[in-house]
Amino acid sequence: MELVKRASPLQIYKLLDRSNCKECGRNTCMEFVTDLLERRVKLEDCPPKHLPPKKRKQIEELIKPPQLPLEFGAGKNLCRIGGEEAFHRHDLTFFNPTAIAVEVYDEMPNLMDVVKHLDEFVVFRIGENLTLDAIAIRSSSNNPDMYAKTVKLVSDSVNLPLILCSFNPEVLKSAAIKIKEKKPLLYAATKENWKDVGKCAIELNLPVVCFSTDLDELVSIAHSLEDMGVTELALDPGTIMGAGYSTETLNRIMQIRYSSIRDGSELTKHPTVGVPASIWAIDNPTSEEELFAVQYKEALTAIMMLSVDVSLVIIHSGRTEEEVWVPLALMTYRQNIFTDPRIYPRVDAGFFEIGSPSRNSPIFMTSNYRMTKIPVEQDIKDAHIDSYLLVVDTEGLGIEAGVAGGQLSSDKVAEAVNDFKVFDAVDHRVLVIPGMAARLSGAIEDDANCYVVVGPMDSSGLQKFMEKDWNLEQFMKEYNDR
């Protein structure tokens, strides 16, 4: 089971006309096949005249993931979840990052301010803008008119896709009908209301989340809805955390995961939903301290769900600037886990210009670990320091780890200095090394024949370093005096 059952490239290649027509934007049909399997190109990009419907259908079947994808939202503001085929991240890669939605409710006093905040929320990290994926609106009023009015108002003023939350089909439908073109996700169909929610979903052509903490009941709801004609479904097996509950919650998620992605069962082929926000219905914080504890509990429940590739999580914390640390941790974790594991942590060693360096510009040194080199480069750019960056081959390890394990040593630095003819680019012999590599400073001076300045512990301090500590004349004087 460790191996993901994937279509082989040749299986697909045989079904193409192998004309290498280039109309898909690839040079060859084989390249198209490789990119198709990596989901970098869509099957529709192969023009009909080159691929008859019958063969197209065969390929579709071959590349169909064991977990169906589901889309909600419309136009540019789509939220695409599920569609996974790797049981473990290292088996292949996770394709669709867990969507993170923050929830609000129709009677919320400052609702419009909050949804605007959520809509515009963005964190810039390592070259990527991290944003939320959806807003979930609950009906606390349980009043169809009020809910419909509120949902419409929110829908008109935000871009994010919406999730409509109520167990009352009438309430759900009243709002869904108003914004059906924006294709909201309906939450949720239960054993009690599934017929009416299903009817609403069919009439308005909307996707539905099924909810039950009993797995037999959950697949029964899904199965019954499918039989009725609902095609887009997601499964929420319930989120309860705490002593005696945490294992059950994880068990349910994992049973669905084993069944769908490992075993390929038809009954569980839908994306999954987790609702860490539901913790707030059980844990009622009454003090500042308790509030903090529940926020932690919620955040870590979401972390657990991201870890096991749950398709969508709905959280409560994160509505205000003050609570930014919750979505920050989640979005950072998501950025990590949904990175393709086939991308090696190592980047090319080398000697790079940043900005427009002169003969007196500083030379900074760093490692060739992706997560070191990229942030360091970004920090130097952000600080507008015209300079050179020497990236030493540390076998893809960070500075601290490299110093500890010997992959970053004075020999390695000297080798890089010589190989890249580093000091030919400038009129000095000063090398700024990371604070984390301070222990190596003496040895580097000897081995690389240069003057070493120990820079800040973190590259975010480089601007301050340039203002306060960078003194080329002084450094060169000391170098020449030796």
Partner: protein, 400 residues
């Protein structure tokens, strides 16, 4: 045109056509006979069926019917077992056991439960450095009093402590090992839990350090762990572990082949399997955590599937999380990330939880709030299941 000719022409046309639509056609006759090719009949039936199904969709002719369905059975394919490793003080007066897993972390639906929850070791450093503000707030007054530091960490609920002898690195303080040995002896007197012996990372000094502190542990009737041996030091460290009956942490850096080789070398040199803990390196949230996530998971799954080269309990230094700027950067410098006293510890406990879900047995942690939170989460996972379901559905109508 004769009828035969028309038919011939029609058939020829039809050969290249998928569908024929007859518009505004009137047919009159007493007796009308259609003879058509089987292929055509088929397509007529198909399109009729399609039409019918479309109509039925629109009119929802299909009645909604509850279909009682059984959740599919999940087969257990994990045949292997992770080794058990024991830490103890004074002949078992306090004891910590890790490992022994037969299924992936925290799962119980295979009918088997793992025997031990992941445990927490809190860090004690042999000298204070410039630690982030949330750490400083906890330990600043004991930076120079290692014994008081250890006592405090024990009070926070740690299962174990790790005494990091960084000052013995000649490139740092070059402190004589006997001074750290004296400190270690005092720490053992002051606390009841096992104290792991942490090296500075200096390849020459570390074996000497383990020799000196291992002897103290042995005299105390304590089995703890040398943290750590790597590809350069294992040849010196393994004999010392045998001499003093101590566990050894085999440390590699995110490289599966290095780990397999180091494990094999250590076992060949006589390290008992039940004295072996592995550390494939814990990267931090936001800065490569995914590499650790996948490597810890690969090791654990391989071990559970029966790979005898990787079925050892794992350790992770989640203290590394404090190297992430989201964790250490002050509120003044990074107001956009929220309060450091919240995001800092969260950064560490997230790192620990991520590893635990992949397969972690021993978390070496720094911040007590992160440690307590992590320990509580693990204890929750190991608590007896409750059968009553609280009304979580009320979430939908709550007014907060």
């Amino acid at each position: 045109m004769s009828f035969e000719k028309i038919t011939e022409k029609l058939l020829k046309m039809l050969e290249e056509t998928d569908e024929v639509t007859l518009k505004d056609l009137e047919l009159m006759g007493e007796h009308l006979e259609f003879s058509v090719l089987p292929g055509i009949v088929k397509s007529v039936t198909q399109s009729t069926q399609q039409m019918i199904s479309q109509v039925s969709m629109q009119q929802q002719l299909k009645p909604a019917e509850w279909i009682e369905t059984k959740f599919p059975e999940i087969k257990n394919e994990y045949k292997g077992k992770i080794e058990e490793v024991t830490f103890y003080r004074n002949k078992n007066k306090s004891k910590v056991v890790i490992g022994g897993e037969t299924v992936p972390p925290f799962l119980s639906f295979f009918g088997e439960k793992n025997p031990h929850r992941p445990v927490v070791s809190l860090d004690v450093f042999d000298y204070g450095r410039s630690f982030p503000k949330p750490i400083k707030a906890i330990y600043k007054d004991v930076y120079d009093d290692t014994v008081a530091w250890a006592r405090r960490a024990e009070k926070f609920g740690a299962d174990l402590l790790t005494f990091h002898c960084l000052a013995t690195d000649p490139l740092l303080l070059n402190r004589p090992i006997k001074e750290d040995a004296a400190m270690y002896e005092k720490i053992l007197d002051a606390v009841k839990i096992p104290v792991i012996i942490g090296g500075s990372g200096n390849k020459t000094m570390d074996p000497q350090l383990y020799d000196a502190l291992g002897k103290i542990a042995a005299n105390d009737n304590t089995r703890t762990m040398f943290s750590s041996a790597d590809k350069e030091t294992w040849e010196q460290v393994i004999p010392l572990s045998l001499k003093y009956d101590q566990n050894v942490l085999l440390w590699t850096q995110l490289d599966i082949n290095d780990q397999i080789k180091l494990n094999k070398d250590a076992l060949d040199a006589g390290l008992p399997r039940n004295h072996t803990v592995i550390d494939p390196t814990c990267a931090t949230l936001g800065y490569g955590l995914e590499y650790s996530y996948s490597i810890y998971q690969r090791y654990r799954i391989s071990g559970l599937l029966g790979d005898k080269t990787l079925n050892f309990p794992t350790s992770a230094g989640t203290t590394n999380a404090w190297g992430a700027r989201e964790a250490w950067m002050s509120n003044k410098k990074a107001p956009q990330w929220g309060d450091i006293f919240k995001r800092g510890p969260l950064w560490e406990v997230t790192t620990a939880l991520a590893m635990a879900l992949c397969g972690l047995d021993l978390a070496m942690m720094f911040h007590p709030l992160a440690a307590q939170t992590f320990k509580n989460i693990c204890m929750d996972f190991f608590a007896e299941s409750k059968k009553v379901t609280p009304p979580i559905g009320e979430w939908v109508t709550m007014k907060i």
